[in-house]
């Protein structure tokens, strides 16, 4: 644990990526294999299930710190991170421990089934035997996601340096389901074993949003365009008469989409397709809201299957005849995909092709992009015809060219403190639109991105001076500031007070030129619903 806590401390003490990679590489060279596996697991968001709920953790921490619970809660609102708050308020360590990271995690896994009293005793003992960073890390392992400014990509790079195994191969090995408590470092990283790969997806290739004009990409004939579908990015794998469906979050979701079982009888073994899962009610592409009725469900009822079936809108093929064809040019891969599609297409096979759009001039593509909302896409994808299928987010060969967002001018009404690097700053905002003849502001969206650090600081200082009421971490503020809010989609909603749900709202501009009287009305928003 000491080594891991030191690693976190070092990573915390620098803003420079090169130094972070250096520290991680050294760490991977030094620690025992079991700790390596756990470190990889933690930094790729694979944690043991939470053994103690956070309510109990708060109560126990305030008991150990000898402060009232309300004071603990207030401190937590300000610190912005539960593990950090706990590490700060409890008394300094009385002793130290040499237990390894692996040992801690085995204990934490085992803790889940223990009675409450034992859990409490375990936490008290360890809290008092760990220094500040160790105790922060220990608590973080128990409470939640381990976001510390180290991406999986950065971790993979360091692992690659420590093991001298290619980064892309490592990324592939780390995909999918593996259990850190059961697998060895040898098996996970070092060994070559074909059978292990049966269910493994390939790392997804992700596009950046285009900067500037597409015309700057050069010769139109080198590029292919298609619509950018608004569903769940997925890989469908057919190998050894088995089907595996992976979402981009590396989650195995095969059971959630039983309609894809139909692929097994028509698509040959040794095929991997990349595409978008889309809702397809009444024989047409539905909205993301339709898809949400399927996402959370573990058991899909017959009724739901009939009401909201899904299809795979395929746009790429990564494996064919058991061969990894990611190095093949995109144009060639498309030919294989289209041939396959035309061979297997049938009413009872939920496979659709994401059609390529023919165009001779960039202006024609721009015109098609204008059409996006009507065909229920988010814009266009531009792909270079000779491009291989790369690993992760890379610039150059694939670009997202989204439609301009919908926008509306709204009034800031509530503010809440942020988390992480925004802790102690009011950065999470609620916005209202006018209703009842402009007499009342109705909340319609929350947003916390789109401003610069400087703007956040200015607004934070203003909020602290213009608070009307406090509700725990939330404050209502004097209606004064108008923001242009952008969002990707809009639909009616019974769950929102405004009756409208917007997708991915964010602040596009701080309209210091506008007064609150100039903000839009709820009716203006409703008029945007298609």
């Amino acid at each position: 644990m000491k080594a891991f806590a030191n690693l976190i401390k070092t990573l915390d003490s620098t803003n420079k990526t090169t130094l972070k990679v250096e520290a991680l590489t050294e760490y991977f060279k030094e620690v025992p294999d079991k700790d390596k596996v756990w470190t990889i697991a933690i930094l790729s968001h694979r944690r043991p299930p939470r053994p103690v709920n956070t309510t109990l953790m708060r109560e126990w921490a305030s008991e150990l710190a000898n402060i009232p619970l309300w004071l603990f809660e207030e401190s937590y609102h300000i610190v912005g991170d539960l593990a950090e708050t706990i590490a700060l308020v409890i008394p300094p360590a009385e002793d130290s421990t040499e237990k390894s990271l692996n040992q801690f995690l085995e204990e934490i896994i085992d803790l889940k089934k223990r009675p409450e009293e034992e859990k409490k005793e375990y936490l008290f003992d360890n809290w008092l035997n760990l220094n500040y960073y160790e105790r922060f890390v220990f608590t973080k392992l128990i409470t939640g996601s381990f976001r510390i400014g180290v991406s999986q990509k950065l971790m993979t790079r360091a692992l690659s340096r420590a093991t001298e195994i290619d980064e892309d191969i490592l990324a592939y090995k780390l995909m999918g389901n593996w259990e850190p408590s059961k697998i060895t470092f040898n098996k996970l990283i070092l060994e070559e074993n074909k059978e292990d790969y049966l269910s493994k997806p390939y790392p997804f290739y992700l596009a950046y949003a285009i900067e500037g004009e597409p015309a700057e990409l050069g010769d139109v004939s080198q590029w292919s365009a298609e619509h950018k579908w608004d569903g769940i990015r997925s890989q469908v794998i057919i190998r050894n008469d088995e089907l595996f469906v992976w979402s981009r979050g590396e989650e195995l979701v095969t059971d959630k989409y039983p309609e894809f079982d139909a692929f097994l009888s028509v698509i040959p073994n040794g095929t991997v397709l990349d595409g978008e899962i889309l809702p397809f009610p009444e024989g047409e592409i539905g909205t993301f809201k339709d898809l949400q009725t399927r996402i959370g469900r573990k058991n899909v009822s017959k009724k739901l299957l009939e009401k909201t079936p899904v299809i795979l809108k395929a746009y790429d093929i990564l494996e064919w005849g058991g061969e990894d064809i990611r190095d093949m040019a995109f144009g060639k891969r498309r030919e294989i995909l289209e041939k396959l599609y035309h061979e297997v297409r049938a009413d009872d096979v939920p496979l659709h092709l994401s059609e390529t759009i023919q165009f001779d001039k960039w202006e024609e593509a721009a015109k098609e992009r204008e059409n996006s909302r009507e065909v229920k896409s988010e814009g266009l994808m531009l792909k270079r015809l000779d491009s291989p299928y790369l690993v992760g987010r890379k610039k150059g060969d694939w670009w997202k060219w989204k439609v301009d967002p919908l926008t509306i001018d709204a009034v800031l009404t509530y503010a809440m403190r942020g988390h992480g690097r925004r802790s102690n700053l009011f950065t999470d905002y609620t916005f209202g639109l006018w209703d009842k003849d402009r007499k009342e502001l109705v909340t319609f969206a929350k947003a916390y991105s789109g401003l610069t650090d400087k703007e956040f600081r200015q607004l934070d200082a203003w909020i602290k001076r213009n608070t009307l009421e406090r509700f725990g971490p939330v404050r209502s503020v004097t209606p004064h500031h108008v923001f242009e809010i952008a969002f990707e989609g809009i639909a009616e909603s019974g769950r929102h007070k405004s009756g409208v749900a917007t997708r991915f709202p964010r602040m596009l501009r701080w309209r210091t030129d506008k007064k609150i009287e100039d903000a839009n009305t709820l009716q203006d928003l409703k008029d945007l619903i298609p």
Partner: protein, 340 residues
Amino acid sequence: MRTPLLAFNDKGIYCAAADVYLDPWKPVNKAIISHGHADHSRWGHKKYITHHSNVPIIKHRLGDIEVSGREWNESFSINGVKFSLHPAGHIIGSSQIRVEHKGEVWVFTGDYKTEDDGVAVPYEPVKCDTFITECTFGLPAFKWTPQAQVFEEINNWWQQNREDGRTSVLFGYSLGKAQRLLKHLDPSIGKIFTHGAIENMTEVLRAQIDFPETTRITRETSKDEIKGNIVLAPGSAHGTTWIRKMVPYVTASASGWMTFRGARRRRAIDKGFVLSDHCDWQGLLSSIKETGCEKVICTHGYTDIFSRYLREQGYDARTEETQYEGETGQMESEKEKDVE
């Protein structure tokens, strides 16, 4: 109801019986000033009364003002009200202001800390009935480490950076924090360079305190001279073109706010040293206890939370709005802007 000895109005903390203000934020005739930071000693009063060692500081900052200096514990009377200044330990020349009238004693802390920092005259508890206290760090999350340990870390950090061929840039407020850092840096590691704002203030204070040698960074200072050494700079220098001369450099900030991981990451600073010139949670509680007071008035910081806790502990505690720095995490950098 009797007029309270000290009242909070739109100009500052007012003593009606003496017709004098403590640390007023708007221009008044007569002001008693706790210390030299911009939010406590403002421009535009007709007469200033403060501790001797603060006189050169506020003269440097405010220019030609009418100011008279007093000794620690020296009583002076205004309209029959008895005043005296007592060490607050916050920065050089920082005082608590004691006010006594008709058997009643009030103490206003200004800003203060309980730890002896080796530069300011250490804080002394003063018995009183009503204690007007700051609570900038009035949360149980704030616990300071003894400064000897923090300075060992700072000097080790400098040494390590020097070995790695990097310049250390250490940010701290130009009055108080910068001199406290300077006093405890180890000159055997290398040379200590300063930003102009810090050098100017330090020059003023050299008459009172013995500091290690410093070198002002000017247009003529070459990159090579600085390399591997340490540079003391105000937080406002971060992210400016001025700092480019220090490349390759590593940044650190010394402040109580560095307790929070988020605060350091937000400012894009490499290293944070938790070092404050204010009381931590225990420091506040023990000071209040030592005064023997019954009433507590919280002026700035996490006032609502802190006064609620004090009420639960049996004090008659409340909050008053002032224009001293509020709960903002940007506190130190905003102060900095005022100074420059």
